[in-house]
Subunit: 412 residues, 2 copies
């Protein structure tokens, strides 16, 4: 059961001018499920992406990076079931063959296609089945198909993840619609996670690339389910430029700020959705670290807490086990951390309770107060390192019996 | 159920001349369990230790480090139930008060006592109960009490951990007897893990310190259950010098090599016992990395594999999910790792099966072969980075339903 994650409503997912989506059942790994998605983009669409830094990055990721460098992307093809990772030279050939088939179908060049795969790794990609499925996906493309596409990219997800928002830029209504998939193996540097956002905003390519990097850092690269980073993770933003406003060419403009805010907001929502649907999740945890010397050390502490299986099992048990939180802060790798100056709160805003200071439990802390906060489905841990002005926030979920069950049974 | 870990047999635990142990029920946290251990050392015993690097290191750890610097240690006092960590100034006062009470009882100075605590953290140490229990522990001290002591230092352990071995040095029979405790929260830099080894060998203090550091690196600092490092971990070696051989003063002597080999062997056995009794463990995993440029990068890769919840749940399921192993190698943090050169085997020795090479699954690999190895209770993953001559080995266990259960219920 995802934590406070209502499924998307088809009518709320706004079409984006210049973007058509089609899905089909290609039987990639199992029959009877929609497992192939085709996204077609009008000419002139600008595309930018951020990809996994895993050294075993999958063949499609390598092909995406090469094709993005050439520019002028016109289509995305996404399959589930098989990740085409750890597949060596054959995997590269398979990813390229998939692009070639899409190109032939649409009358474009193979390097105008971005391929994405998610699923089990080390298995060969069944290219023939994907190629055979493409005409059906192409035949049903439409601008209103975000709901279907969000379902077709799911793997261990229990709920589809898609949202829209609009923003007014120079008097024009600009639409952003996005979808994501992923439920485990989620961490910075992009785990088995796919995120796609399309907008009809008009924006210069270098600015789009900067925005995508920033949005990824604050969203998909700030979540973790189990600390593993995958071979296939990708976050791609497509801007068709059809909204009718003047092209955004300066970062220091109201138009850019408005688009930036909307893109980051949507990306955070899509990334948090992955954590809310984390494998076996029963709690949504926000770990907010402030008072660090730089963002990097704040992230180190936040991730040490968010990755700790002991912290995550305590949250599953609604147990305000502060000791495990403090221990995680202590081994986060800040060698000169002064634990006497550190403060830790459970909860947020008015509900927040100071739980630790002066190197131990706060004198004012009562376990009932901590237990009250831990009983909620959404819990914030706030940590003040008291040594600077930097901050960072990471989102994660708890570790439950079901996490083990899902991951022990995944391939069976 | 621990993995291939027979409980110690009282008669197999050899007394060490110059070392007496006594235990009692002090009621530290719960009544009716032996939770206080006193180890008394003859004058002239040399002692060296290695301690947690967690910034929240517990009060007793800080006191141990100070007292060891002064030398001439005559007693160790160990309580379970409460870890006296995250307890601020009061925690320091409590640890010192415990030492003072032992000192008064034995007629020694307080700084000749090393205190150890393990259990829940952030709770105040019930010093009065510990002090009240000391006379009973002292009254029953004896050289043959290793079996009782190994039981009295247990917390979430399901089985006591103690072993002896002997080695001949210059014609004298030298005895080493040790015990350890810990079952979760185990990682390098010493997790909630206590290890004690006593020997009647005679060895110069600087040599003893070097041996302890080396033995800790190859044993207690090469294991992990869940990646968390605790606030209290300590590994202490005591050498009474009663065996009757000439004092070892040179590292480059047969005597030192013999003692070194015995100490490392015993430490590895005691450290592995913690993994075999890992919380919820059903499998014992050895991750052996070779062909690295230095030991540090080999350890990085080994720990990335050993910490991955996805790898650990796959091992629980006896699933040869190589993809998860390769993904973990890929995110271990070696930026210039050439995945095409890397090779991975499952199993050890004659039984070993090459599973990955050339950036993907080995052509010769058959899943039945992998499944056969994964069915065993002890599984080796061997990884050749093919870029140097360094190596490192890490031991861990799988992640099961029971891991979550134990850690979600620990305090209730």
């Amino acid at each position: 059961m995802p934590v406070n994650l209502p499924p998307p409503v088809a009518a709320d997912l706004l079409p984006v001018a210049g973007v058509s989506l089609g899905v089909t059942e290609a039987g990639v790994r199992k029959p009877g499920r929609r497992d192939l998605t085709l996204i077609e983009l009008d000419a002139g669409t600008r595309v930018a992406g951020v990809f996994t830094r895993n050294r075993f990055c999958a063949a499609p990721v390598q092909v995406c990076q090469r094709h993005l460098a050439d520019g002028d992307i016109r289509a995305l093809v996404i399959n589930t079931g098989v990740a085409n990772a750890g597949t060596g030279e054959q995997g590269m050939a398979d990813a390229i063959a998939t692009c070639a088939a899409v190109a032939q179908l649409l009358g474009i060049a193979p390097d105008q296609v971005l391929p994405f795969s998610t699923g089990v790794i080390l298995e060969p990609l069944p290219v023939a089945r994907i190629v055979a499925g493409l005409p059906a996906a192409h035949a049903n493309t439409g601008a209103a198909n975000w709901f279907d596409a969000a379902h077709a990219i799911m793997t261990t997800d229990t709920v589809a993840k898609a949202r829209s928002r609009t923003v007014t830029i120079d008097g024009a209504t600009v639409t952003l619609t996005g979808m994501s998939k992923g439920a485990g193996m989620i961490k910075p540097n992009m785990a088995t996670m796919l995120g796609f956002v399309a907008t009809d905003a008009a924006i210069a390519q270098p600015l789009l690339e900067a925005l995508v990097t920033e949005a990824a850092d604050l969203s998909f690269n700030s979540i973790t389910v189990d600390g593993d980073t995958s071979t296939n993770d990708s976050f791609v933003v497509m801007a068709t430029g059809k909204a009718g406003h003047a092209e955004i060419t300066s970062a220091d403009s109201d138009a850019c700020r408005a688009l930036r805010e909307a893109l980051i907001g949507l990306s955070v929502e899509l990334a948090q959705a992955i954590v809310r649907d984390g494998e076996g999740a029963t709690k949504f945890m926000t770990v907010a670290v402030e008072g660090g010397r730089d963002r990097d050390e704040c992230r180190k502490v936040a991730y040490a807490v968010a990755h700790s299986p002991l912290v995550k099992t305590a949250f599953f048990a609604s147990d305000p086990n502060l000791g495990r939180i403090l221990a995680a802060i202590g081994y986060a790798g800040i060698d000169d951390l002064d634990v006497a100056g550190l403060r830790v709160w459970l909860g947020d805003g008015k509900e927040s309770v100071l739980v630790a200071e002066h190197g131990g439990r706060a004198a004012s802390y009562r376990e009932e107060a901590g237990a009250r906060i831990m009983a909620a489905a959404e819990i914030t841990v706030r940590i003040d390192l008291a040594r600077g002005d930097a901050s960072a926030t990471v989102w994660t979920c708890d570790f439950s019996y079901d996490y083990v069950k899902i991951n022990a049974d995944y391939r069976s």
